[in-house]
Amino acid sequence: MRLDDITEAIGDTPLVRLDPAVHGLENIDLYAKLELLNPFGSVKDRAAWQMARPLLARGAPGDTVVELSSGNTAKALALLAGMHGRPFRSVTNRMKVPEIKELLLLLGAEIDELPGRSECLDPTDTDDPLTRMYRELAGAGGGYLHTDQYFNELNVEAHVHGTGPEIVKDLDGRAPDYFIACVGTAGSSTGVARVLRRHNPDVEVVGLVGAKSDFIPGIRTIDEVYEVGLFDPGVYDCLATITADDAIDGLLTLVRRCGILTGPTGGGAFQGAVRHLRTVDAGLTERKTAVFIVCDRVESYLSYVRDRRPEVFGRPPRRNSIRTLTDAEVAAAPALAPAAAQRWALEVDPLVVDLRSPHAYQALHLAGSVNLVDEVLAGLLHAGLPFDRRRPVLLVCPVGEKSARYAALLTRMGHPDARSLDGGIIAWRDAGLDLVR
């Protein structure tokens, strides 16, 4: 395959049959449409290109592409804008996935995060983010190319001409009996459903939305879908709810058992599909087919999964960690009150280690001390003692709590004279002892 332009690689994604041993459906062939194999990594590549193409052809050279997106649409538009030498700006309600935020910055996008809700409510302030953005764009008097994914019919068109016909072609000209899709902008589900119904008016379309007060990237909640201009409840035979837990369960199944590197949206679609299809599977007398969409890739969601399933990332406990200390060990750690510590320091000239953050250390510290931020010291200690046993050590932290822990750990690791400044640098200051810059 030889291409003149990366946009030619958008679309024509594979349709993969999943192993029945994984999903357990006896009478239904379940297919995954692998939209994660689009060049920018998601189903949004199609809509982004379809929407941006005419704007880019028409706009002036310095125009900024702008969209309300916190995820894959922004990513695809950032790349497309970059290819055309245009800046891209993403306005977002809340960028909840840190990796995506970082990635967008790497791609050269500008990101504007809208303010959180007001604590002292102003009942007259009822603008939704989109209205606010429309007004800002109108006020700017040009210079913006707004793709408007939640209302732009081209978002649906991308799937009417691409995703939908591809599925039918790969199923030898037949539409599946069931189509299950997560609802985000409603573009892919609406476009695909339209094509499938043309081939088979009886196709059952299941829309999946997030549980309220839950968060699954790329899926709107049951309330939020009604804010989407492209959303028409009539498209779906039913709307079902999935949770973040479902999404991660599905993600883990597809990743670990099917070799499909899906993100949580695809995981949710799989889980929602299997749950729905199980209710009909047993009653079937002939073979049926079902298709769901794998929207994007897992790599951008490591922190999303880690926050919700820390055990997935389970690692053996590290050596020489303060977490392994007992209360008794910490209580037994040698500690010196400020005045005594000052006398001892004059006597034995210990190594004074300040565990606080660099800015704080630079502002004020004990004369002659070195700054080893506790996290850095923790890293060094995993490998062993970083200090000579022959020189005493005085550890300093804000209130003497962390320093006591590290004194206990150093003692356990065989340091003969590691002491903690009792009450920390705050007690030192309050005792009127010298601090320097």
Binding site: P115, G116, S118, D122
Partner: protein, 480 residues
């Protein structure tokens, strides 16, 4: 039934269970009647102190007086170790009269010369919003030969790294970029002004914005130090919030259904189809819900705890640890959160009408006496039926106020009650001490403003007195 059941603390519940007591108070003092529970406020102080302790932080808890005009609440707080944030000349006088020493008072908000003079004369800390205000204060101090006044600098307009975090513009505070000008002024006016620290207050429930502001303020404090000043505190304002509702599911269901009602997909739930900020355009829901999030999983002291555990956007270390590393005091100015479960408002049912299949309950109270609606807080009142008669119910009703005004509804939402009230019944609007009690109360139409009563316990007995009669001096507490 779309109930929005309020969270009710056992102390308030025990009052609600004693209908005769409440009915006697109302008979004596009239409807509406406000009850404050001064001893409850110390529980909330303790919760905040616990968060401080967990993060090893020291610093002052300033009660934002504007949340309630009550003397009882203020005096009870004066008896403890909290400070007070006053935002007017009158509030400052009230605080001084309640027993707050000036070192426990911070003056915030818009300030006229008289307010500045009294703060300076007394020696309260002045949280300055601008260069001009600081200059005016210095002029007053010099002109009246007053001692140096402690000042903190309220900053605004913070920059965020990488991602531009937009924040609602504020009319208060000096943009961080102009800090050098403020410091020039402080150097020049060193005989009049003594810097204690910097401050911010953001009107948002969003943690990321507050994290940006807090870290920016740390940088500002570093800048003060490099100029040879000795700031010691960072005041992060208030906005810790309260969770009003008992049940997340009810809140979620209500807001979902409201959207559906606005779209015309279900029967209206509000007076004249009011959408609380939502509107339908071509079958799509537009606008944004102008309601306080009634159910908040993290609020009050727990919200502060969450903020202190949030990593600083730039330096990466949790904000609480950064404050500690730098040995700065953390000052906070909670209002609403300190008054959680500290009061309720009672009203009598005047009449009950049926019009066009709706039940209209006329109350002897108006929307300004219990300004829940104005603040976007939706929660059901508790019905305290008169003994004897049986009640129909449950039912959805509209609560009408006592002003001769079409718009005077206590709430524009249809309220679902377990029984249909009858004339003479009482309605209790619980947990209304923070901002809903007297913030907007008016004597329009010569309707009375609610009298305020303090209810407290001493020697194992419940007692009450008029709010202005309450002093935290209970005989049995004293050791002879």
């Amino acid at each position: 039934m779309l109930n929005l059941t309020p969270r009710i603390d056992p102390i308030i519940q025990s009052l609600l269970d004693d209908r005769d007591f409440l009915a006697q108070l109302l008979d004596a003092l009239g409807s509406p009647l406000a009850l404050v529970l001064p001893q409850q406020v110390t529980k909330n102080v303790t919760a905040f102190r616990e968060t401080y302790r967990r993060h090893h932080l020291s610093g002052r808890l300033y009660y934002a007086h504007k949340a309630n005009r009550s003397s009882a609440l203020l005096r009870e707080l004066a008896a403890g170790d909290t400070g007070v944030d006053v935002a007017s000349l009158g509030e400052l006088q009230h605080a001084l009269g309640a027993g707050f020493t000036p070192d426990r008072i911070v003056a915030t908000g818009p300030k006229n010369r008289e307010f500045l003079w009294l703060a300076a004369r007394a020696g309260a800390t002045v949280s300055a919003d601008s260069h001009d205000e600081l200059a005016e204060l210095a002029g007053i101090v010099a002109g009246h030969r007053l001692p140096r006044v402690p000042v903190s600098l309220r900053l605004s307009g913070f920059a965020s790294p990488g991602v531009r975090l937009l924040t609602r513009g504020s009319r208060f505070g000096t943009p961080t970029g102009e800090l050098p000008d403020l410091l020039d002024l402080l150097e020049k006016r060193a005989d009049q002004l003594a810097l204690t620290g910097v401050a911010y207050h953001l009107d948002t429930i969003g943690l990321p914005e507050k994290a940006v502001a807090l870290e920016n303020c740390l940088t500002a404090l570093d800048e003060c130090r490099t100029r040879g000043l000795r700031p010691r505190s960072l005041d992060i304002g208030g906005g810790f919030g309260v969770s009003y509702l008992a049940d997340r599911v009810e809140w979620d269901r209500y807001t979902t259904e409201l959207g559906q009602a606005v779209l015309g997909r279900r029967a209206p739930m509000t007076w004249h189809g009011h959408g609380y900020g939502l509107r339908a355009e071509g079958g799509t829901l537009r606008g944004s819900l102008a309601l306080y999030p009634g159910y908040r999983p993290v609020s009050g002291a727990a919200y502060l705890d969450r903020l202190l555990g949030t990593p600083a956007p730039e330096r990466g270390r949790p904000l609480g640890e950064l404050l500690l590393d730098h040995m700065y005091d953390l000052d906070v100015e909670p209002g609403r959160a300190l008054l959680d479960q500290c009061g309720l408002i009672l009203a009598r049912v005047v009449s009950v009408l049926r019009r066009d299949d709706e039940i209209l309950v006329q109350l002897d109270i108006n929307a300004r006496d219990v300004s829940l609606e104005e603040h976007g807080v939706l929660m059901d009142p508790v019905v305290l039926p008169r003994a004897g008669d049986r009640r129909a119910g449950p039912a959805g009703v509209y609560l009408l106020g006592n002003l001769c005004l079409e718009t005077d509804l206590i709430t524009r939402r249809k309220v679902y009650l377990p029984v249909v009230p009858r004339p003479g019944d009482l309605l209790a609007f619980v947990n209304t001490a923070g901002y809903f009690m007297d913030f907007s109360a008016t004597r329009a139409l010569h309707q009375p403003v609610a009298r305020k009563v303090a209810v407290y316990r001493t020697g194992g007995v419940r007692r009450w007195c008029l709010d202005e009669q309450y002093w935290p001096v209970h005989p049995r507490q004293e050791v002879s």
